[in-house]
Symmetry: C2
Subunit: 332 residues, 2 copies
């Protein structure tokens, strides 16, 4: 069964927040003249993020609310417009920071909602743009100063660089993309799951953690599982990846085989960790797939007998896809 | 043949700079008391990086030069010692910044050499520690100030955090690990290679580029190949990963199938890009495998007829391993 699962790992590209349909124009966007033409052209569309939230038209809640140049006049120029990309017809799409905590919402008639709550309800391409926009807006918010010398920095290259304003320094800073390993660890017919203290009752997910300098993906998987649960991991296989804009993670999903099964929980990181049977995971996967809620806001109730009823992340989470690949190896 | 190559992609973990034998002690290192005990204990060993270079004992050039507590007295405390990890006997290994440009080398009798020149000649575990050390020392050097507010930052948690010193801010900053996609793109019996202007004559490698917010690994592969060579890529498979400490990249190696073959070179990024035949790549792989030089310092001479003689990266580069997996699919 293990061999079958590992050998069946075909490329999976269905993770939400991936799947943009735009060309990022990585070369052209460095040219200020090209950028100005795109920014001030009549076709340009603009996505305001307010408090890092997604703009929605209350009358069309499955669409993002894009603004035109007339509505955004006075709000945007080459110093704060972030290019998301260009569509096949040449239409440029931009995002911008429309205000943070304490700022009033600037465009009447728009409703702002949490990016990960909106994402499952909009098109795959729009969800991807939203991830890109949220990560970049947040990065600019938190990088107004040069880490090298402390002087103010300025946005450049359509939002993909910040340059130090000090002539003596002039350092360039690029957006962060922080790789995180997230892994389904199996031992025979059981898999390892863990929970944070703030998870809803009964809710468990796969283990995960930030990569550190000087390690490969496979090593990071083994280190995290060792640190959090004291389980030794042997073979590790890549499954898929997912950009996760909270704030700028790249989730790297893997499936790995446990060599030991005695768990010691790291209480700094986890509230609980345990082995759960494949059947229980399959039931939980089936149950959550039928719903569309944000897995982090729904609270599971214990059943009448007060017994443990496993809940797992919804399909939008890569953890769900890893569990799915393990419980349904024939479906991949 | 394509199917065979893709299906034969087993986990490859032989990349240099991966393979540390130490426990990073990710939880314990946050405890200042634990850290002080390790730092001042008699067993502690210290790796000085001077100008980001590796310390070598001239009498034992295949070993790193570790110092003891006596030699480093006055140089180290909890504010500048970076914990690399603990070995199975409990011995702690630290790295520290022994000076930058303009600073005299502080420890007589040590020779300092470029990390990537030294790496192929030392043990796999030591090369990995060197990658970890170089990335972290460099990160601390370039992050003395808070990107959020501009105030000075201070090292904490044995080198894995910098904290803002301003009471009103207090932001925590974590070391960067920047994911880079690097890909062997094949079209039938040829693969796509490119060269930078500063590469030695005849030297080509696979294409590569930094990942951006809001994209998966597979999307980043397609975007980079599109931007640099205007080639469309279909199926993409993960091969292996490699930490690359210049300064803090995580190389994510993939093999992908080209859907088109008309190259348009992006002259901002590449000096040349071309399709090369499998036979030529195999010859170049065989030739370079027999050597141990740093691929970036050896200059290839054109042959007597002045014809194109392909040179490719040495085994220490993940690009070499991707090419090897493609020319020797049976060997994986």
């Amino acid at each position: 069964m293990w061999r079958k699962i590992m050998d069946a790992l075909n490329p999976f590209e269905g993770n939400i927040f991936a799947g943009s349909h735009l060309d990022r124009a990585g070369n052209a966007r460095r040219d200020p003249e090209w950028l100005a033409t795109k920014l001030h052209g009549p076709a340009a569309r603009f996505l305001p993020l307010w408090q890092l939230k997604a703009p929605i038209d209350p009358d069309a809640p499955s669409d993002l609310k894009w603004l035109g140049g007339t509505e955004t006049r006075g709000h945007l120029d080459g110093t704060n417009a972030i290019l998301l990309g260009i569509d096949p017809q040449g239409v440029p799409y931009f995002a911008f920071d429309a205000g943070g905590e304490g700022d009033a919402s600037p465009f009447p008639g728009i409703q702002y909602e949490e990016v990960r709550s909106v994402a499952p309800n909009i098109s795959r391409g729009d969800a991807s743009l939203l991830a890109q926009a949220r990560s970049l807006v947040d990065w600019h918010r938190r990088h107004g100063f040069c880490a090298v010398c402390g002087a103010p920095t300025r946005m450049a290259d359509a939002g993909y660089v910040r340059r130090c304003s000090s002539a003596g320094c002039g350092a360039q800073h690029f957006p962060r993309t922080d790789p995180v390993v997230i892994m389904l660890i199996a031992h025979g017919d059981r898999c390892l799951v863990g929970r944070q203290r703030w998870f809803p009752n009964g809710f468990y997910s796969t283990l995960a953690g930030f990569m550190e300098p000087g390690e490969s993906i496979e090593e990071a998987v083994r280190r995290e599982v060792w640190e959090e649960a004291a389980i030794e991991v042997g073979e590790v296989r890549y499954h898929s990846s997912q950009p996760w804009p909270y704030p700028s993670s790249l989730m790297i999903g893997c499936i790995g085989e446990a060599l030991t099964d005695q768990i010691t929980i790291d209480r700094h990181e986890l509230d609980d960790a345990r082995w759960v049977a494949r059947d229980a995971v399959r039931r939980a996967i089936d149950q959550v797939t039928a719903k569309t809620f944000d897995p982090f806001t729904e609270v599971a109730m214990p059943d009448e007998a007060g017994e443990f009823e496993l809940m797992v992340p919804a399909p939008m989470a890569i953890a769900h896809q890893l569990m799915r690949a393990w419980v349904y190896p024939d479906a991949t």
